[in-house]
Amino acid sequence: MNSMLNDILLEAKNLKMYFPMTKGLLKRKVADVKAVDGVSFKIKRGETLGLVGESGCGKTTVGRCLLRLYNPTAGQIYFEGEDISKLPANKIRPLRRKMQLIFQDPYGSLDPRQSAGSIVGEPLLIHHLVKTNSYGDYRRRVSELFATVGLDPSMVGRYPHEFSGGQRQRIGIARALSCDPSFIICDEPISALDVSIQAQIINLLQELQEKLGLTYLFIAHDLSVVRHISNRVAVMYLGHIVEITNWRELYDNPLHPYTKALLSAVPIPDPVVESSRERIVLKGDVPSPINPPPGCNFHPRCPIAIPDCRQAIPPLRFISADHEVACIRV
């Protein structure tokens, strides 16, 4: 976008998250589920990085690792220059102010026994962001947040079940905003919503980004949505990032065979073009992350695989200044 955006807010280096599988009474470890297996990327201040991939590829796990909801198995996470991947639990709390999460499911992510105002205001109390024993301050800030996300401030006393899905998602966004974070992970924030409401929420997120200078990691499985909101897009497959580039390059010049297949699956809203386009249909299923295939883990389904693909995991390499691909065939 512009040169102002060049300082890096968050960087993940070779991030790994393995979930152990245990068996028997003694909790003997039999295998690992390699949900995230060596992921590296950088997010610049003020930009939106889209993270796409099919379900089960580890997108959400990456987000939760960055937030330290999971303790990553290996790798580093630098947030504002500081490695947060090994911070002890009691040092994480100040970090919570700066990194927030917007959930996929607007129904499950709000406490049903808490009023909307209390949901939005809770972070203010936890982080002492309003003067203690100043109820007026608290109420003013909550009303302000309600108005920011387009909700009527008179609804602060209502409970989640009295709101629609889109309104609930707005409450979730207000909660994420309330402690004034610099970085927000949007974990498929619109995939549980109606199409018409999806557009509203996307526009709201973009507006907030402009107004508040937020940085997003936007997790989605829908490429057309990612295209609207992202500056750069990372494509994940089975715990690995296979391609990172800016959105224009990704759509005009996809290089990795998986990215090509994904893009060819996006329907085109024009019946003539739609019927004449060429679709790349992948054969087979996603392999199990417990026992991924050797070498490039996409090779069993890859249309252009060669025997060399089984030898080693291909690293991400630069094709151009802003385009990295993990494939030996391009």
Partner: protein, 301 residues
């Protein structure tokens, strides 16, 4: 970045508030639509009123013996007759209501308080904390509640306070189990993750989020256990461990009266019926509460 929307761009539209639905009113409506539940609620209410107003509504002194009129059949002067010491049975039942209610409330508070905290801690922290607490609870569950409270009462000595403590302890496992199970399901939900993300402390998550959300089934259990606790106190009193003699307790009255079962059955039947009615009522109210609070039954009843 610009994005031309195909959809209308009313991002900042402030939507109208939907109609407010009162949870309390809904529960009340569901419960009052079943006559057994209403009946149970009325009996419970009567019990509470009787317990508090006992000194004013009881026709005679429940403790003072009147040896001139022992073992009388029901009459106009003594509606339920008199016992071996000439005390009016109705007055003793009225005063016994206070004992039963007090035992119910205090025993259930002890059981609920300890059980809920233990279950909350076990479920939330999991791992070894859960293992240690739940194994102890399992061991307690292996002993039937009556022998358990008998043993505890024997250990602590008789008297009403110790009966309440022993009944309370014997009821802990059910609360702990229920709470632990509730916490285990709820703690995986997104809103608990959200609480972690906003930086809430463990105590805050437990008390502000987990406890209120697991409360409905606990409320049902509390109501049902009131009946069980009253029954347990009656059983202990019947076995002679409960209350110290001159004071009136329903269980002890059944025990005193059963010697005259053939000559004067009212003596033990009347307090027995009182116990039965109250326990049944608490169970019915508990049942009604369960139906009213169960989200799966929402819209059916």
């Amino acid at each position: 970045m610009q994005f031309e929307s195909k959809y209308d761009n009313r991002t900042n539209e402030i939507t109208e508030a939907p109609p407010q639905v009162s949870e309390f009113r809904r529960i009340f409506k569901v419960m009052s639509s079943r006559w057994v539940v209403v009946f149970g609620a009325i009996i419970v209410l009567l019990l509470v009123l009787t317990a508090f107003l006992a000194p004013w509504i009881a026709p005679y002194d429940p403790i003072k013996p009147d040896l001139s009129s022992t073992l009388q059949q029901p009459s106009r002067a003594h509606l339920l007759g008199t016992d071996a010491l000439g005390r009016d049975v109705l007055s003793r039942i009225i005063h016994g209501a206070w004992v039963s209610l007090r035992v119910g409330i205090i025993a259930v508070s002890i059981a609920g308080g300890i059980g809920i905290i233990l279950g909350l801690v076990a479920g939330y922290f999991g791992r070894w904390v859960n293992n240690i607490i739940m194994r102890i609870i399992d061991a307690m569950m292996a002993i039937p509640p009556l022998p358990l409270s008998l043993a505890i009462a024997a250990l602590l000595g008789g008297g009403l306070t110790n009966v309440m403590i022993s009944v309370g302890i014997s009821l802990i496992p059910t609360y702990c189990r229920l709470m632990c199970g509730q916490v285990l399901t709820i703690k995986e939900s997104d809103y608990i993750t959200a609480a972690h993300v906003i930086g809430a402390s463990d105590i805050r998550i437990m008390l502000r989020h987990l406890l209120p959300n697991s409360f409905p089934p606990l409320l049902v259990l509390i109501t049902l256990n009131m009946g069980i606790a009253i029954l347990a106190e009656a059983s202990l009193s019947f076995l002679g461990i409960g209350i110290t003699p001159p004071a009136a307790a329903w269980g002890a009255m059944v025990s005193d009266g059963y010697k005259y079962l053939f000559t004067n059955p009212v003596l033990s039947f009347a307090p027995g019926v009182a116990v039965m009615l109250v326990v049944l009522s608490f169970n019915m109210v508990g049942d009604g509460l369960r139906d009213a609070l169960d989200p799966r039954l929402r819209g059916i009843i």
